[in-house]
Symmetry: C2
Subunit: 137 residues, 2 copies
DNA sequence: CTCTAAGTGTTATATTATTACATATGTAAT
DNA sequence: ATTACATATGTAATAATATAACACTTAGAG
Protein backbone atom coordinates (compact mmCIF):
# COMPACT_ATOMS: atom_id res chain seq x y z
CA UNK A 1 0.00 0.00 0.00
CA UNK A 2 1.68 3.08 -1.19
CA UNK A 3 0.03 5.69 0.90
CA UNK A 4 -1.31 5.56 4.42
CA UNK A 5 -4.26 7.75 3.43
CA UNK A 6 -3.11 10.22 6.06
CA UNK A 7 -5.68 12.88 5.61
CA UNK A 8 -6.35 12.49 9.31
CA UNK A 9 -7.14 16.20 9.46
CA UNK A 10 -3.50 16.93 8.80
CA UNK A 11 -1.66 18.74 11.50
CA UNK A 12 -1.97 21.79 9.39
CA UNK A 13 1.23 23.72 9.69
CA UNK A 14 0.91 27.42 9.75
CA UNK A 15 1.69 29.67 6.85
CA UNK A 16 4.37 32.31 7.04
CA UNK A 17 2.03 35.15 7.97
CA UNK A 18 0.16 33.07 10.49
CA UNK A 19 3.48 31.95 11.98
CA UNK A 20 5.00 35.38 12.49
CA UNK A 21 1.79 36.78 13.95
CA UNK A 22 1.53 33.83 16.32
CA UNK A 23 5.18 34.17 17.32
CA UNK A 24 4.73 37.81 18.15
CA UNK A 25 1.72 37.10 20.35
CA UNK A 26 3.53 34.19 21.95
CA UNK A 27 6.58 36.24 22.81
CA UNK A 28 4.52 39.13 24.02
CA UNK A 29 2.11 37.18 26.21
CA UNK A 30 -0.13 40.21 26.55
CA UNK A 31 -3.01 41.41 24.41
CA UNK A 32 -1.97 43.18 21.24
CA UNK A 33 -3.98 45.23 18.82
CA UNK A 34 -4.11 44.44 15.13
CA UNK A 35 -2.47 47.66 14.01
CA UNK A 36 0.24 47.31 16.63
CA UNK A 37 0.94 43.86 15.24
CA UNK A 38 1.05 45.34 11.77
CA UNK A 39 3.58 47.99 12.79
CA UNK A 40 5.67 45.44 14.63
CA UNK A 41 5.81 43.11 11.67
CA UNK A 42 6.46 45.61 8.90
CA UNK A 43 10.04 44.44 8.87
CA UNK A 44 8.90 40.84 8.46
CA UNK A 45 7.05 41.80 5.32
CA UNK A 46 3.54 42.51 6.52
CA UNK A 47 2.30 45.53 4.65
CA UNK A 48 -1.44 45.74 5.01
CA UNK A 49 -4.08 45.39 7.72
CA UNK A 50 -5.71 42.62 5.79
CA UNK A 51 -2.66 40.42 6.05
CA UNK A 52 -2.79 40.78 9.80
CA UNK A 53 -6.52 40.30 10.10
CA UNK A 54 -6.45 37.20 7.95
CA UNK A 55 -3.75 35.62 10.05
CA UNK A 56 -5.57 36.58 13.24
CA UNK A 57 -8.85 35.16 11.98
CA UNK A 58 -7.23 31.86 11.18
CA UNK A 59 -5.41 31.65 14.50
CA UNK A 60 -8.62 32.40 16.38
CA UNK A 61 -10.34 29.69 14.36
CA UNK A 62 -7.60 27.23 15.28
CA UNK A 63 -7.93 28.19 18.93
CA UNK A 64 -4.32 29.32 19.14
CA UNK A 65 -5.23 32.84 20.11
CA UNK A 66 -8.29 34.60 21.44
CA UNK A 67 -9.88 37.92 20.75
CA UNK A 68 -10.78 40.02 23.75
CA UNK A 69 -13.76 41.85 22.45
CA UNK A 70 -13.95 44.70 24.89
CA UNK A 71 -10.48 45.93 24.05
CA UNK A 72 -10.21 44.88 20.41
CA UNK A 73 -7.10 42.91 21.18
CA UNK A 74 -5.69 39.46 20.64
CA UNK A 75 -3.84 37.28 23.09
CA UNK A 76 -2.09 33.93 22.92
CA UNK A 77 -4.11 31.03 24.23
CA UNK A 78 -2.97 29.85 27.59
CA UNK A 79 -4.83 26.57 27.57
CA UNK A 80 -5.59 23.81 25.24
CA UNK A 81 -8.99 22.97 23.89
CA UNK A 82 -10.55 26.32 24.43
CA UNK A 83 -11.05 27.37 20.88
CA UNK A 84 -14.61 28.29 21.63
CA UNK A 85 -14.81 28.91 25.34
CA UNK A 86 -12.86 31.76 26.78
CA UNK A 87 -12.67 33.50 30.12
CA UNK A 88 -10.50 36.42 31.05
CA UNK A 89 -9.82 38.74 33.90
CA UNK A 90 -9.12 42.33 32.98
CA UNK A 91 -7.69 44.72 35.55
CA UNK A 92 -9.79 47.85 35.65
CA UNK A 93 -6.85 49.96 36.64
CA UNK A 94 -3.85 48.77 34.65
CA UNK A 95 -5.60 46.86 31.90
CA UNK A 96 -3.65 43.67 32.48
CA UNK A 97 -5.38 40.63 31.04
CA UNK A 98 -5.11 37.04 32.15
CA UNK A 99 -6.81 34.00 30.76
CA UNK A 100 -8.59 31.95 33.35
CA UNK A 101 -7.48 28.42 32.78
CA UNK A 102 -9.17 26.59 35.53
CA UNK A 103 -10.98 23.55 34.29
CA UNK A 104 -13.26 23.97 37.26
CA UNK A 105 -14.49 27.22 35.82
CA UNK A 106 -15.62 25.41 32.74
CA UNK A 107 -17.54 22.89 34.77
CA UNK A 108 -19.08 25.64 36.85
CA UNK A 109 -20.20 27.46 33.79
CA UNK A 110 -21.63 24.29 32.34
CA UNK A 111 -23.66 23.76 35.47
CA UNK A 112 -24.68 27.36 35.53
CA UNK A 113 -26.01 27.38 32.01
CA UNK A 114 -27.68 24.05 32.50
CA UNK A 115 -29.49 25.39 35.51
CA UNK A 116 -30.53 28.40 33.49
CA UNK A 117 -31.71 26.20 30.65
CA UNK A 118 -29.34 27.71 28.17
CA UNK A 119 -28.06 25.57 25.38
CA UNK A 120 -24.80 27.23 24.76
CA UNK A 121 -22.44 26.40 21.99
CA UNK A 122 -19.65 28.53 23.37
CA UNK A 123 -19.02 31.47 25.66
CA UNK A 124 -16.86 34.47 26.25
CA UNK A 125 -16.55 35.69 29.83
CA UNK A 126 -14.90 38.94 30.79
CA UNK A 127 -14.35 39.56 34.47
CA UNK A 128 -13.16 42.99 35.48
CA UNK A 129 -10.95 42.91 38.53
CA UNK A 130 -8.42 44.87 40.51
CA UNK A 131 -5.22 42.92 40.05
CA UNK A 132 -2.88 42.17 42.91
CA UNK A 133 -0.35 44.86 42.28
CA UNK A 134 -3.00 47.48 41.61
CA UNK A 135 -4.75 46.54 44.82
CA UNK A 136 -1.60 47.08 46.81
CA UNK A 137 -0.72 50.45 45.34
CA UNK B 1 -28.44 73.88 60.59
CA UNK B 2 -29.48 76.03 57.68
CA UNK B 3 -29.81 73.53 54.87
CA UNK B 4 -30.93 69.95 54.71
CA UNK B 5 -27.83 69.15 52.69
CA UNK B 6 -29.99 67.34 50.19
CA UNK B 7 -27.37 66.41 47.71
CA UNK B 8 -28.69 62.89 47.97
CA UNK B 9 -27.41 62.08 44.51
CA UNK B 10 -30.46 63.64 42.86
CA UNK B 11 -32.62 61.55 40.62
CA UNK B 12 -30.90 62.99 37.60
CA UNK B 13 -33.34 63.36 34.74
CA UNK B 14 -32.07 62.70 31.28
CA UNK B 15 -31.15 65.37 28.79
CA UNK B 16 -32.81 65.64 25.41
CA UNK B 17 -30.17 63.68 23.53
CA UNK B 18 -29.98 61.00 26.17
CA UNK B 19 -33.77 60.77 26.17
CA UNK B 20 -34.23 60.28 22.45
CA UNK B 21 -31.46 57.72 22.25
CA UNK B 22 -32.90 55.82 25.18
CA UNK B 23 -36.38 55.95 23.67
CA UNK B 24 -35.16 54.51 20.41
CA UNK B 25 -33.42 51.63 22.17
CA UNK B 26 -36.45 51.07 24.33
CA UNK B 27 -38.83 50.91 21.41
CA UNK B 28 -36.51 48.74 19.42
CA UNK B 29 -35.70 46.22 22.13
CA UNK B 30 -32.90 44.78 20.06
CA UNK B 31 -29.25 45.74 19.83
CA UNK B 32 -28.59 48.80 17.69
CA UNK B 33 -25.34 50.19 16.36
CA UNK B 34 -24.25 53.73 17.03
CA UNK B 35 -24.36 54.84 13.41
CA UNK B 36 -27.75 53.24 12.92
CA UNK B 37 -28.97 55.25 15.88
CA UNK B 38 -27.47 58.35 14.34
CA UNK B 39 -29.25 57.78 11.05
CA UNK B 40 -32.51 57.02 12.80
CA UNK B 41 -32.36 60.18 14.85
CA UNK B 42 -31.26 62.65 12.19
CA UNK B 43 -34.80 63.92 12.09
CA UNK B 44 -34.73 64.47 15.85
CA UNK B 45 -31.76 66.73 15.47
CA UNK B 46 -28.81 64.45 16.03
CA UNK B 47 -26.15 65.40 13.52
CA UNK B 48 -22.87 63.91 14.61
CA UNK B 49 -21.54 60.59 15.89
CA UNK B 50 -20.30 62.29 18.99
CA UNK B 51 -23.76 63.29 20.06
CA UNK B 52 -24.79 59.66 19.87
CA UNK B 53 -21.70 58.31 21.57
CA UNK B 54 -21.97 60.81 24.39
CA UNK B 55 -25.57 59.87 25.05
CA UNK B 56 -24.73 56.18 24.86
CA UNK B 57 -21.81 56.55 27.26
CA UNK B 58 -23.98 58.28 29.79
CA UNK B 59 -26.78 55.74 29.48
CA UNK B 60 -24.32 52.90 29.92
CA UNK B 61 -22.92 54.64 32.98
CA UNK B 62 -26.42 54.96 34.40
CA UNK B 63 -27.07 51.29 33.73
CA UNK B 64 -30.03 52.04 31.48
CA UNK B 65 -28.46 50.36 28.49
CA UNK B 66 -25.63 47.91 27.88
CA UNK B 67 -22.99 47.60 25.26
CA UNK B 68 -22.56 44.20 23.69
CA UNK B 69 -18.90 44.26 22.92
CA UNK B 70 -18.67 41.50 20.40
CA UNK B 71 -21.12 43.17 18.06
CA UNK B 72 -20.46 46.84 18.82
CA UNK B 73 -24.06 47.33 19.66
CA UNK B 74 -26.20 48.75 22.41
CA UNK B 75 -29.35 47.33 23.94
CA UNK B 76 -31.87 48.50 26.47
CA UNK B 77 -31.37 47.06 29.95
CA UNK B 78 -33.88 44.42 30.80
CA UNK B 79 -33.19 44.37 34.49
CA UNK B 80 -32.61 46.73 37.28
CA UNK B 81 -29.38 47.12 39.16
CA UNK B 82 -27.13 45.63 36.56
CA UNK B 83 -25.17 48.68 35.59
CA UNK B 84 -21.97 46.77 35.93
CA UNK B 85 -22.84 43.12 35.56
CA UNK B 86 -24.21 41.93 32.28
CA UNK B 87 -24.97 38.60 30.72
CA UNK B 88 -26.33 37.92 27.28
CA UNK B 89 -27.19 35.12 25.00
CA UNK B 90 -26.43 35.67 21.34
CA UNK B 91 -27.83 33.33 18.72
CA UNK B 92 -25.03 32.13 16.49
CA UNK B 93 -27.34 31.78 13.56
CA UNK B 94 -29.70 34.76 13.56
CA UNK B 95 -27.80 37.10 15.86
CA UNK B 96 -30.72 37.60 18.22
CA UNK B 97 -29.59 38.87 21.60
CA UNK B 98 -31.31 38.44 24.95
CA UNK B 99 -30.26 39.67 28.31
CA UNK B 100 -30.16 37.00 30.96
CA UNK B 101 -32.04 38.43 33.85
CA UNK B 102 -32.00 35.63 36.31
CA UNK B 103 -30.89 36.72 39.73
CA UNK B 104 -29.74 33.17 40.22
CA UNK B 105 -27.17 33.65 37.53
CA UNK B 106 -25.68 36.52 39.45
CA UNK B 107 -25.41 34.41 42.57
CA UNK B 108 -23.92 31.55 40.61
CA UNK B 109 -21.31 33.80 39.14
CA UNK B 110 -20.50 35.24 42.53
CA UNK B 111 -19.92 31.77 43.87
CA UNK B 112 -17.96 30.82 40.83
CA UNK B 113 -15.56 33.70 41.10
CA UNK B 114 -15.25 33.28 44.82
CA UNK B 115 -14.23 29.69 44.31
CA UNK B 116 -11.72 30.80 41.74
CA UNK B 117 -10.37 33.46 44.07
CA UNK B 118 -11.21 36.26 41.72
CA UNK B 119 -12.07 39.60 43.19
CA UNK B 120 -14.26 40.90 40.51
CA UNK B 121 -15.71 44.35 40.36
CA UNK B 122 -17.98 43.58 37.45
CA UNK B 123 -18.44 41.17 34.60
CA UNK B 124 -19.65 40.81 31.06
CA UNK B 125 -20.74 37.36 29.96
CA UNK B 126 -21.55 36.46 26.40
CA UNK B 127 -23.10 33.07 25.78
CA UNK B 128 -23.47 31.98 22.19
CA UNK B 129 -26.49 29.79 21.64
CA UNK B 130 -28.80 28.43 19.03
CA UNK B 131 -32.11 30.12 19.77
CA UNK B 132 -35.39 28.25 19.77
CA UNK B 133 -36.61 29.22 16.35
CA UNK B 134 -33.21 28.64 14.77
CA UNK B 135 -33.02 25.23 16.37
CA UNK B 136 -36.34 24.22 14.89
CA UNK B 137 -35.61 25.36 11.36
C1' DC C 1 1.18 16.87 -13.39
C1' DT C 2 -3.15 18.85 -12.64
C1' DC C 3 -6.70 20.44 -9.99
C1' DT C 4 -8.41 22.79 -6.14
C1' DA C 5 -8.67 24.97 -1.75
C1' DA C 6 -6.39 28.10 0.82
C1' DG C 7 -3.41 31.82 1.24
C1' DT C 8 -1.14 36.21 -0.54
C1' DG C 9 -0.49 41.08 -1.97
C1' DT C 10 -2.49 45.34 -2.90
C1' DT C 11 -5.67 49.18 -3.28
C1' DA C 12 -9.55 51.17 -1.82
C1' DT C 13 -13.14 51.82 1.33
C1' DA C 14 -16.35 50.93 5.19
C1' DT C 15 -17.23 51.05 10.05
C1' DT C 16 -16.50 52.44 14.71
C1' DA C 17 -14.89 55.90 17.91
C1' DT C 18 -12.34 60.02 19.76
C1' DT C 19 -9.95 64.78 20.04
C1' DA C 20 -10.34 69.50 20.31
C1' DC C 21 -12.64 73.61 21.11
C1' DA C 22 -16.19 77.04 21.54
C1' DT C 23 -20.80 77.59 23.36
C1' DA C 24 -24.88 76.57 26.15
C1' DT C 25 -27.50 74.76 30.08
C1' DG C 26 -28.91 73.18 34.78
C1' DT C 27 -28.26 73.41 39.67
C1' DA C 28 -26.69 75.08 44.03
C1' DA C 29 -24.84 78.57 46.99
C1' DT C 30 -24.63 83.27 47.74
C1' DA D 1 -31.17 87.39 40.58
C1' DT D 2 -26.14 86.47 40.16
C1' DT D 3 -22.30 83.89 40.25
C1' DA D 4 -19.86 79.67 39.93
C1' DC D 5 -19.32 75.21 38.40
C1' DA D 6 -20.06 70.90 36.46
C1' DT D 7 -22.22 68.83 32.71
C1' DA D 8 -24.03 68.77 28.15
C1' DT D 9 -24.12 70.50 23.33
C1' DG D 10 -22.73 71.41 18.45
C1' DT D 11 -19.44 71.00 14.97
C1' DA D 12 -15.39 69.82 12.28
C1' DA D 13 -11.66 67.03 11.84
C1' DT D 14 -9.40 62.82 12.34
C1' DA D 15 -8.06 58.40 14.52
C1' DA D 16 -8.68 53.50 15.08
C1' DT D 17 -10.65 49.26 13.66
C1' DA D 18 -12.12 46.19 9.99
C1' DT D 19 -13.64 44.48 5.35
C1' DA D 20 -14.51 44.26 0.03
C1' DA D 21 -12.79 43.24 -4.33
C1' DC D 22 -9.65 41.29 -7.42
C1' DA D 23 -5.66 39.28 -9.49
C1' DC D 24 -2.15 36.13 -8.44
C1' DT D 25 0.48 32.25 -5.91
C1' DT D 26 1.28 28.08 -3.33
C1' DA D 27 0.66 23.56 -1.10
C1' DG D 28 -1.06 19.23 -1.15
C1' DA D 29 -4.32 15.43 -2.81
C1' DG D 30 -5.20 12.45 -6.44
Amino acid sequence: MRSTHTHSKKNQSLTKNQRIVLDLLQNSGEPLKAYFILDSLKKEGLNSPLQVYRALDKLVELGKIHKIESINSFIICNNSNCASNTAFTICERCGKVKEIKNKYLKDSVSDLVKDNQLEITRYNLEFYVLCKSCKIN
